[in-house]
């Protein structure tokens, strides 16, 4: 009976992934996955609910309610933090379970290794995720990279300490400590804009930790589900790395964009006003909006939607060009735009829209910088050289809404801003957009 439940559960999990492939069916995918999870958890009790005391049930109910409460209250702009936090919980849970297994029962030797692996990965995920959350909240910005470098250098030495001291009693605790410190230092040196990679990578690790826990307790469903999560995280990690033309190793090394390179401009940019932008837009037939993290910071999504409506009312075609690493997690911009009711059919990926820029009348860049920097195509010495970018500089006209000429994450100047076809609207993203909309009423 249990076997049949687990079989159904596994099939449901795989079906859920299949349904996830299209926005129109994805909400059903979530229902399928929830059902699969419920069946899997139910089967673990093996129809014997009396083996568990009240502390067990209270913990489940209270933390479940807390989970619902948090998920209902969180803002969509905070999704990266939330996913990071839950990730940490998942990893921490697997790590703690592996610790209990190692301390409690006598495991066969092969399982001991798997358990140590699960414990290490789980604890690394736990501490790394919590640091990622802190970074996303803007804390821990000035972390000293040297500390992490020193730790990396001495890492092999640290690992032999237990052998030298003939540590038997506190070996587990030692491994946990090393894993936690590794997680903290590794993530702490990685910059904010690399967080999409970090979050995806930690997501993958939490799946791998769960999968290894499945090996210890001999649960096939746990292995299958863990492997699915691990695969999903790896895919997203590699996609994010490819979108930046950097290797995972390079991202995890950290310190990107901290070296100051020449970021002077040869000439002054052309500055524009909301009124002029409104006039310019009213003569356009096609407009592409490029949102970046700056849009999320300024909470300008609603203003973007309003401008879109204004333009569409004038029969101007509006599309959204979304770079894979825009924002702080994969797909972050899409969710923020979907929240303000922007049709996902209007959101285009880099591959889909790049050929269209040359025939686009006006491109509006809202809070994006490095992902529209043409140096990625032209300057071999640039740290972003080779990174796939949105070729907005090829459009007929470009309007960049930005507060100042300050460089983006890569720490380099963006020649787009002084391009002949580009104008700067120096303003906060939300304010700038709202002023353009107001000016439209006067045009």
């Amino acid at each position: 009976m249990i076997e049949i439940i687990l079989l159904v559960s596994s099939i449901l999990f795989i079906f859920a992934l299949k349904l996830f492939g299209r926005p129109s069916t994805a909400h059903r995918a979530n229902t399928f996955a929830m059902l699969a999870m419920a069946l899997a958890v139910f089967s673990a009790f093996n129809f014997d609910f009396s083996k568990y005391d009240s502390a067990f049930y209270i913990t489940i109910v209270v933390s479940g309610l807390l989970g619902v409460l948090i998920s209902k209250r969180v803002q969509m702009t905070q999704m990266p933090e939330l996913v990071g936090l839950f990730n940490g919980f998942g990893g921490g849970a697997s790590g703690a379970i592996a610790y209990v297994e190692l301390s409690g029962s006598s495991l066969p030797i092969s399982d001991v290794f798997v358990a140590i692996f699960s414990m290490g990965i789980g604890m690394f995920t736990f501490s790394g995720s919590l640091v990622a959350v802190m970074k996303l909240r803007g804390k821990l910005n000035n972390f000293n990279k040297k500390l992490a470098d020193i730790f990396s250098v001495f890492f092999p030495t640290i690992l032999v300490i237990p052998a030298v001291l003939e540590m038997d009693d506190l070996l587990m605790e030692f491994i946990i400590l090393v894993a936690i410190i590794s997680g903290v230092l590794r993530v702490a040196v990685i910059g904010g804009a690399d967080m999409p990679v970090v979050i995806a990578f930690l997501n993958s690790l939490s799946g791998i930790a769960a999968m290894s826990a499945g090996f210890i307790v001999n649960s096939i469903i746990l292995i299958v589900a863990g492997a699915l999560v691990g695969a999903s995280g790896i895919i997203l990690t590699l996609l994010m790395c490819a979108a930046m033309n950097r290797t995972l190793r390079d991202v995890l090394k950290g310190g990107f964009g901290t070296t100051t390179i020449n970021n002077e401009y040869e000439k002054d940019p052309i500055s524009t006003s909301p009124e002029d932008v409104a006039i310019q837009l009213s003569y356009a037939e096609s407009v592409v909006i490029v949102p970046g993290y700056g849009m999320a910071v300024a909470q300008a999504q609603a203003a973007v939607k309003e401008l879109t409506n204004t333009l569409k009312d004038k029969n101007i075609e509006v599309k959204f060009a979304i770079h894979p690493v825009a924002g702080r997690m994969p797909g972050h911009m899409n969710v923020l735009l979907a929240e303000v009711d922007i049709d996902y059919e209007d959101m285009y990926t880099l591959e889909d829209i790049n050929s269209e820029f040359s025939s686009t009348d006006v491109v509006i860049v809202v809070g994006a910088n490095d992902v529209v920097n043409p140096l990625a195509r032209t300057d071999e010495d640039s740290p972003i050289y080779g990174m796939p970018i949105l070729d907005v500089d090829l459009a007929k006209q470009v309007i960049v809404i930005k507060r100042s000429m300050s460089p983006g994450y890569a720490g380099i100047a963006n020649p787009l801003f002084i391009n002949d076809n580009a104008k700067m609207l120096f303003a906060d993203a939300k304010e700038g957009l709202e002023n353009i909309i107001k000016s439209f009423q006067l045009v």
Partner: protein, 95 residues
């Protein structure tokens, strides 16, 4: 569920392969809900906690650690699915 180690490895491999194939096809638009959803699934480690909970007996410290693990995993599962549902609802209404 008992299985030999090799069979288990085979299943692991197949699951990873199916996962890789299916997830590669998911569009960029859905990457955030994919992350929060797969995140929720990683809380399935709760099963391991349920399986070993009756075995720890009177070892108080281990029991407390397991309860923390159970709390973390449950939060992960329930919160993760709930927030994924919220996100996907936003994509549904555009349909």
């Amino acid at each position: 569920m008992e299985a030999t180690f090799l069979l288990t490895l085979l299943i692991t491999f197949l699951a990873s392969f199916i996962g890789y194939e299916l997830i590669s096809k998911i569009p960029q638009t859905l990457h955030t809900p994919l992350m929060s959803g797969s995140n929720a699934i990683s809380g399935i480690t709760l099963i391991a906690a349920i399986l070993i909970y009756p075995e720890v007996g009177d070892a108080q410290l281990l029991k407390i650690i397991l309860l923390i693990a159970i709390a973390f995993a449950t939060l992960n599962i329930v919160g993760g699915f709930s927030v994924t549902g919220r996100i996907l609802e936003m994509f549904k209404k555009n349909d």
